[in-house]
């Protein structure tokens, strides 16, 4: 109750390179505007402007309960948004939900999706009847590659096997959009590898837009080219991976006594660690500029390094006082303009 997020908040402005939550001017396969969802008195989502460019592999990252599944459910009309709207391939997720579901391959969070009392073959036959674009030859190829025991009852399958059936169900009608909700949750590393391989082969073969929700971003690091980060129901970041790699750096420096961080640095600060005489700042911004500012302030930079996706996610997701200052700085700039 007390953590109810006041809503509607101000719309995140600007498409400038500098913002963490970007708006893409490319054609979008998935797009939401001012998306909000209230359960009783608490907002599970507020003002979410999710964007997935057509053809992108986009990771939807956030801790459990951040609002990933709620957003995905809204996209498939499994729940209705309280405010705002979502579009998939230019069609309204609520008003044209059947059309949308027909063009989306969906792997839900639940591991017991489908009917436990059916055999794999029966479930696939039944499922295929709902999709006019079902590619039976492809389905058979996948089921061979997955080594599926077609005669086995769904209920008796291992987690990994069950997940593969779900993946097959989502892929075999060759949808233009794939939405996978925690597709590797509960799988061992070998199975995860298998899922990854299948996805790569699939997108190499048929052009597909992917939205993968996960709280283990690193699993899909090699696949993703976009990332949307959500926490407490609001987007914290939405960027091409390229930009994330370019603008997010860790700066390690020696500092003189009584050193104070310049404002430009404080505004760019996401995370910090410090020891006497030393700092390690994770900053968001142009490397040359920030390096110059730090050096002018008297700090001796001895290392500027890129972050891998895991560390980048921690920087964006972990509440740190530094982050507050970045956010309030953004709000300030909004107020001024």
């Amino acid at each position: 109750m007390t953590n109810a997020i006041p809503f509607p908040g101000p719309a995140l402005r600007s498409d400038a390179d500098g913002t963490l939550v970007q708006r893409f001017d490319r054609e979008l396969a998935i797009e939401s505007r001012m998306l909000g969802k209230r359960y009783r008195r608490a907002w599970a989502l507020s003002d979410v402007a999710l964007q997935v460019p057509t053809g992108a592999v986009s990771l939807f990252v956030g801790p459990n309960g951040a609002g990933k599944s709620t957003t995905i459910r809204i996209l498939l009309d499994l729940t209705r948004a309280t405010t705002g709207e979502a579009m998939v391939l230019g069609h309204s997720a609520s008003a044209e939900s059947t059309w949308v579901r027909r063009h989306v391959g969906y792997v839900p969070e639940q591991l017991d999706w489908g009917y436990g009392w059916l055999t794999v073959a029966q479930l696939l036959t039944y499922h295929s009847r709902y999709y006019p674009t079902w590619d039976d030859a492809y389905a058979q190829r996948l089921s061979k590659a997955f080594n599926l025991q077609l005669g086995q009852t769904m209920r008796t399958l291992s987690k990994g096997q069950g997940r593969r059936v779900h993946l097959l169900m989502a892929l075999a009608h060759r949808p233009p959009v794939l939405i996978l909700d925690e597709p590797t949750d509960g799988l061992d590393p070998l199975m995860r590898e298998g899922v990854l391989e299948t996805l790569v082969e699939h997108i190499a073969e048929s052009p597909t837009t992917l939205l993968i929700s996960t709280h283990h971003a690193y699993e899909f690091e090699a696949l993703a080219d976009h990332v949307s980060v959500i926490r407490h129901g609001t987007l914290q970041a939405q960027l091409p991976m390229e930009t994330l790699r370019e603008r997010l750096r860790r700066y390690q420096a020696r500092i003189p006594a009584q050193w104070e961080a310049p404002t430009a640095v404080m505004k760019a600060l996401l995370r910090r660690k410090s020891a006497p005489g030393e700092i390690e700042y994770t900053l968001w911004g142009d490397e040359t500029e920030l390096t110059a500012v730090l050096e002018q302030s008297g700090a001796t930079l001895w290392n500027v390094s890129r972050l891998n996706l895991s560390d980048a996610m921690i920087a964006l997701l972990d509440p740190d006082d530094g982050k507050q200052s970045l956010r309030s700085a953004q709000e300030d700039s909004r107020g001024i303009s």
Binding site: R73, L76, D77, L78, T79, R80, H91, S92, S94, A95, E96, T98, W99, R101, R102, Y106, P108, Q110, W113, G114, Y115, G116, W117, L118, Q122, Y126, R129, Y130, Y131
Partner: protein
């Protein structure tokens, strides 16, 4: 781009899956019928050797078809519906709801597919009881004398009773996030309010509630065809009374299902 295109599921696919889901249930029901038949035959062949007096005493437990047996079909209708929708609970946003077809028609067609099986069971039950009636009469060297007041339309009673129970349960399974609580809660609330109104001086309210069950168009009339037994004498009701209750309750049940399916077009 037209939002008006209605995507419908394949009726054959649905019928197939509903049958697969319910085949075990149907098998159990058939097994129960068979067990019941066996017991009757054993009892009858023993009774055949006994005196006329015993036979007459056993007449109280009638062996041929009796519309009151449709209470069994009510139970079957409710249980079958629960089995059918158990995996598709809207609360869990289960598989059914993720499929790319119009949800109203999907639910309606699935309901119809299940109804075909309920009705099939009801027909099977009636036929079984008719055959058993003749068989037992033959075993006991009786002529086939059906229940004195039995008329042709009485054979339809279990079909309708099963149908109405099935439809009402469907509407609850669809509309509610806690169907079991409602299925238990509604009869309990009904009984409790009847008791309260009776004992705390609301006679008009009580008689209204009472007539819901035992009125001329009440639920009881619908289920039994108005056929009851007072002492050893059967009490009958005219066809028109039963037909009236069928119209009222079927319409209500269909409306309930349609309303529930429409309500679940959008999962909130």
């Amino acid at each position: 781009m037209s939002a008006t295109t209605v995507f419908l599921p394949s009726a054959r696919g649905l019928q197939w899956i509903v049958f697969l889901r319910l085949r075990r249930f149907v098998a159990w029901a058939a097994f129960l019928f068979a067990a019941f038949d066996t017991l009757l035959i054993i009892a009858a062949s023993r009774a055949g050797a006994t005196t006329q007096a015993v036979r007459q005493a056993r007449g109280v437990v009638r062996m041929e078809y009796d519309p009151q047996q449709s209470f069994l079909l009510v139970g079957i209708g409710i249980l079958m519906c629960m089995v059918l929708w158990h995996d598709d609970e809207p609360r869990r946003r289960a598989y059914f709801w993720t499929l790319p077809v119009n949800r109203f028609w999907h639910a309606a067609m699935k309901c119809a597919a299940g109804w075909i099986i309920v009705t099939g069971l009801a027909v099977g039950f009636v036929l079984n009881m008719m055959v058993m009636g003749s068989l037992l009469a033959a075993l006991q060297h009786y002529p086939v004398v059906p229940h004195a007041s039995l008329q042709a339309w009485h054979y339809l009673v279990p079909l309708v009773a099963g149908t109405v129970a099935y439809l009402f349960t469907t509407s609850i399974m669809l509309a509610s996030d806690r169907p079991v609580a409602w299925l238990i809660g509604i009869p309990l609330t009904y009984l409790a309010s009847r008791w309260t109104t009776q004992n705390f001086g609301y006679p008009r309210l009580y008689s209204m509630l009472e007539s819901l069950w035992s009125g001329s168009h009440g639920m009881c009339a619908l289920i039994t065809g108005g056929l009851t037994q007072i002492g050893n004498y059967p009490a009958t009701a005219p066809f028109s009374a039963w037909a009236g209750s069928v119209v009222v309750w079927s319409a209500l049940a269909l409306l309930a299902v349609a309303g529930a399916a429409q309500w679940r077009q959008r999962l909130t």
